[in-house]
């Protein structure tokens, strides 16, 4: 009888361990609160693993976990804002705490995070999933359970806002232009 984990087991465990960091980073980009982001990532992982039998393709593990992270995030927002539907939730601006002291020490990082934080939640989710995780539009549509056209329009509005905010900052502080 073989008791050692198979290569498939070890690879999936490795993916799951690495996935925690990815979930945390995106959750942080959504909420800008380290403790909450950690809870969201842990919760997504826990919920995901408890329903792992529903995952049919191991190649889709991460997009599946991000979809669960999205539902954890919505649950959290719902607990804070009762009687608000999902569509309206996605349009709400943030009232969460601002970037923490780590970011304050890095001017560009801080400015970009503030710009992200100023986006409506739905736009913030789309732009971070595309830019941080490199998900395709189709994958983001699947993760957030929205039409691909909505992904594109939200991304378009998000980048438009970011361009405006960041270029304003660049005018005030030309150093921003030096950041690729």
């Amino acid at each position: 009888m073989k008791w050692l984990p198979s290569r498939e087991q070890r690879e999936l465990m490795e993916q799951i361990k690495a996935g925690r960091g990815r979930l945390y980073r995106v959750a942080f980009a959504w909420c800008h609160d380290a403790a909450l982001a950690d809870d969201l990532a842990q919760e997504a992982l826990t919920r995901g693993l408890s329903r792992l039998e529903q995952l049919r393709e191991s190649a889709k593990l991460m997009s599946w976990l991000f979809a669960i992270l999205n539902r954890c995030w919505i649950d959290h927002l719902r607990a804070r804002r009762r009687d608000v539907d999902d569509e309206l939730l996605s349009e709400l601006p943030s009232d969460l705490p601002g970037p923490d002291s780590h970011a304050e020490r890095q001017e560009t990082v801080s400015r970009v995070r503030r710009a992200i934080e100023a986006l409506p939640l739905g736009q913030r989710q789309v732009v971070t999933l595309v830019d941080l995780e490199g998900f395709s539009y189709a994958e983001v549509a699947e993760v957030l359970e929205i039409p691909i056209g909505t992904v594109m329009s939200r991304l378009c509005r998000a980048r438009g806002s970011l361009r405006g905010l960041l270029m304003e900052g660049a005018t005030a502080q030309p150093r921003l232009r030096s950041v690729k």
Binding site: S6, R25, E43, T46, V130
Partner: protein, 233 residues
């Protein structure tokens, strides 16, 4: 005269994100060669994308004093780690085991486990039921007794943490005795469970033999990845 308005912002975003087909990419690249304004728009979009990546390249790590946010999730979800791991292991290939059906038959289990090489076993306890606590310790002792070079870890989380809490464990002496006789055994408490209990104002003093890991799930994942045999009680 600029041709930039020919291309919508959505299309330019799709170009920046590699979502366009070859023909559409060619059209934009051809236009960029003669349209500085279009080039500027693309440059700004790409810069915005890079800035987002840059802003979250390094994110702050959590420094928990108390688990202030856990309250918005139900206790049932927080307590689902056990099920999580059991399902995970089952899904991963049915090669690890749960000892649930083997209470009182630790010897039989150890016979089967000796087939594992190297001799490393992680025993996971998440229940405060005395028979399950006892089964975990029986299994650890049986394994240590039979394989002198074995490494054994008993990891406790959720209600299982009671095994390692000074005020709640009925087995403080037995844990001390096992530890005094075996250098290669470790008793490990889940840091997340401790944080949650602290957040609820509970005293979480541990027995002196206990070490603390960040989260049980991470520890289990790491050990399994290293080739340890995992057993959930």
């Amino acid at each position: 005269m600029s041709d930039a308005k020919v291309f919508s912002d959505e299309r330019l975003n799709a170009f920046v994100d590699n979502e366009l087909g070859a023909q559409e990419c060619d059209e934009i690249l051809t236009a960029v060669a003669t349209d500085a304004e279009l080039g500027q728009r693309l440059c700004e979009l790409r810069s915005a994308k890079e800035l987002v990546r840059h802003a979250y390249g390094r994110v702050p790590q959590v420094r928990r004093q108390a688990n202030r946010h856990l309250s918005f999730w139900s206790g049932a979800l927080a307590a689902s780690l056990t099920l999580t791991l059991g399902v995970l292991i089952g899904w991963l290939g049915h090669q690890s085991a749960t000892a649930t059906e083997s209470h009182g038959t630790a010897a039989a289990w150890t016979e089967r486990l000796f087939a594992a090489e190297p001799a490393r076993i992680l025993i996971h306890l998440d229940s405060s039921r005395s028979e399950q606590m006892e089964a975990a310790l029986d299994l650890a002792e049986a394994y240590l007794a039979k394989a002198s070079n074995a490494r054994v870890e008993v990891i406790a989380n959720n209600r299982g943490l009671d095994l390692l809490r000074a005020r709640t464990t009925p087995y403080a002496e037995r844990i001390a005795e096992i530890r005094s006789h075996h250098e290669r055994v470790a008793f490990i408490a889940c840091g997340q469970t401790i944080a949650r209990l602290h957040g609820g104002g509970e005293d979480v003093a541990l027995v002196p033999e206990a070490a603390v890991t960040r989260t049980a799930i991470e520890h289990v994942a790491e050990r399994v990845q290293q080739g340890w045999t995992y057993l959930k009680i």
